[in-house]
Amino acid sequence: MSRPLLSRIFIAAALAFAWFDVSGVAYVRGIPYPHDLSSLIDLSWATGPLAFAVLTAFYAAALARFIAARDVRAATAAFALLALTAHIHEAQWPGSAGVRNGLGLPGGGLAAYLLADRACVLFGRADQRERWSREAACGVAAAAYTLAAASKLIYGGPAWAGGANIAMYIASQAYMRSAALLPLRLWFPRHLALCGAFGVGTLIIEGSGLVFLWPRARPAYAVLACGLHLGIWLIMGLVHFDFLLMVVGLAL
């Protein structure tokens, strides 16, 4: 299997996970339309189980076509579907702003991928489309991690990484997920030094996102990012596999 194909498989898997983030539109009954485009255009046709099943089928078909043939039109269709459902999701739950922003890397990365593809054709470098597109998405990945660290430092300050603060985060999430890892999620926040190390490690890894701009550093950063996301999943139950798969796909 070629590296570009393997990379596309990981990127498509990241986009498939991103779709789970917007699956809430499947059981929405009416949209409050608080702002933006949805106050002008009725998008309720795209909500509910049946509409979501149809959209999911189109999305899956577009991703499959993107993997198999690097069909840019299919990737564009997938982006449009993700943008539509993400917009409805934001309109439905404006209070979730700041939480569901995990869509930023898969959605923003795909947008960059498509923009660079068009730019490549425009500059007469059609033979370099795959490389240019991946390079552009890598820029977005570097920015997404840097912004995640900047958010914590600007809004929470250095105290965000303190053991007591991280312990409260972890403890608050303990009952939100499956019972299988509940003992670990209750044990971990009782150890403030461990929680502090976890918080500092998170800031260091996210804050080092800039290194993803350098191709040689990408595999090492992807390994660190995988460790971060798997740790967050194990200890807090928060799933960011879309980030994880995207960064691995881009590092390949």
Partner: protein, 136 residues
């Protein structure tokens, strides 16, 4: 080979898209995730099946658990969307009138976390409604 500056251009472009317009744009939001410091007491919505935490989306045909039981009446971590999602799901999956109750015993409520004297978190579950459902 792609030009060396290409990734840097998209890096700067994404930072600008996320920070220059207020709140950013779709797929480029800032702040990203929840960066605030946690309060001393907070609560998250919790859902138990037969006494064990579970995702509410595992269950349907709720009896005895109205959507109104999912209320945000205690301090929390601004996880408004979690309350709304749980409430939406329960509202959309109530049992048909007159149907038999499901086999699973369910509780909906809060997982309330506070700090003890040493700063360590302590949690307790507080139920707001109990009933039955069919769960997978």
């Amino acid at each position: 080979m792609p030009p060396r500056w290409l990734a840097a251009v998209f890096f700067v472009g994404y930072l600008a898209a996320a920070t220059v317009p207020k709140g950013g744009i779709l797929f480029a939001r800032f702040p990203i995730f929840f960066p605030d410091l946690t309060p001393d007491v907070l609560a998250m919505p919790a859902f138990l099946v037969d006494g064990r935490p579970a995702s509410v989306r595992r269950c349907r045909d709720f009896v005895g658990i109205p959507a109104s039981a999912v209320v945000r009446s205690v301090p929390d971590m601004d996880a408004w969307h979690r309350f709304m999602e749980q409430r939406q799901w329960i509202a959309a999956h109530q049992a048909a009138p007159g149907s038999a109750p499901g086999p699973a015993r369910c509780q909906v409520g809060f997982w309330i976390v506070s700090r003890d004297a040493s700063g360590r978190p302590e949690g307790r579950f507080q139920a707001s409604a109990e009933g039955t459902a069919r769960c997978r």
